[in-house]
Symmetry: C2
Subunit: 172 residues, 2 copies
């Protein structure tokens, strides 16, 4: 049995498509993004300011959809391993309640005592950390597994998981 | 430099006197409590149910006072050490916003990225954990320092800190 810490945004909750949907509804724009690009690279200043404000709202987080296969795979994973959800919610205090309710809604089997709202993830004690940002692996004592997202596709990291099928097949 | 994780309720925020004050205001009762006693030992069923409900409110947490010398000592401590505040907020989701605002109000120097809302504290990676519950030291990889509170005075634990002067004088 391993202890596996899993990030939430862009790993369990589909923040990327949540932002794309919102941009289309609000601005009728559908930016095409290439690997390594971030929203600030493809939006004008007004659009990016509005998107940043949107990222500060509880509504944004609550309305995200789960990534494909994330719920079922996580449910299986936590039968054999000690799984924690570790999200850097301290940078968006408005998201606390929404994130907690989202987990209750989509992961009703998940024990709240294994949810962690943090900032600096080097505070996490685990064998593995699955995250979409390599900076979260700095000073992490376990093994960092980079979960692929458009914004990190050009990042160089030895261990990469492309999707939840990869997580399900990984030998923890 | 050590990494020191510090619990919030009963260690930084004075939950015990907060509850006593509330009982006096609400029920005009002022229970006298002896070491090892908890509120459920000294209240009738109605009072204890009301107190438990009070503990679920944001207002309760926001209105707590800091323990004597906690703010000044914590401010000094974080100049020389990596200090995190690690509170089991997952058991009281209503407290998220209030706890965050409380820290901003009383500890304006404290970086939000070093706040952790968790449940099971074995997820914390630190050299020391200062906490008022010995069960939080189970599976904690560092050294647990028991912060004295009436409810833990009969608990047997090798390392005990009586108050914030003891924290200030401890050789981390």
């Amino acid at each position: 049995m391993a202890r596996i810490a899993i990030d939430m945004d862009h790993v369990i909750a589909d923040a990327h498509n949540g932002l794309l949907d919102w941009l289309e509804r609000s601005y009728s724009v559908k930016p095409s993004m290439t690997p390594g690009q971030r929203f600030r690279d493809v939006l004008n200043a007004d659009q990016y300011a509005a998107l940043s404000a949107r990222l500060e709202t509880a509504e944004f987080f609550f309305n995200l959809k789960p990534l494909e296969s994330s719920i079922e795979t996580l449910e299986l994973l936590q039968r054999n391993h000690e799984v924690f959800i570790t999200t850097a919610a301290m940078f968006v205090p408005n998201s606390f309640g929404a994130k907690y309710e989202w987990i209750k809604k989509y992961l009703p089997f998940f024990e709240p005592k294994r949810i962690v709202f943090c900032g600096d993830k080097s505070i996490i004690s685990a064998d593995y950390l699955i995250d979409d940002h390599i900076h979260n692996f700095e000073n992490f004592e376990g093994r960092g597994l980079l979960f692929s997202a458009l914004h990190n596709e050009l990042d160089s990291w030895p261990d990469r998981l492309s999707d939840w099928n990869d997580i399900g097949n990984f030998n923890f």
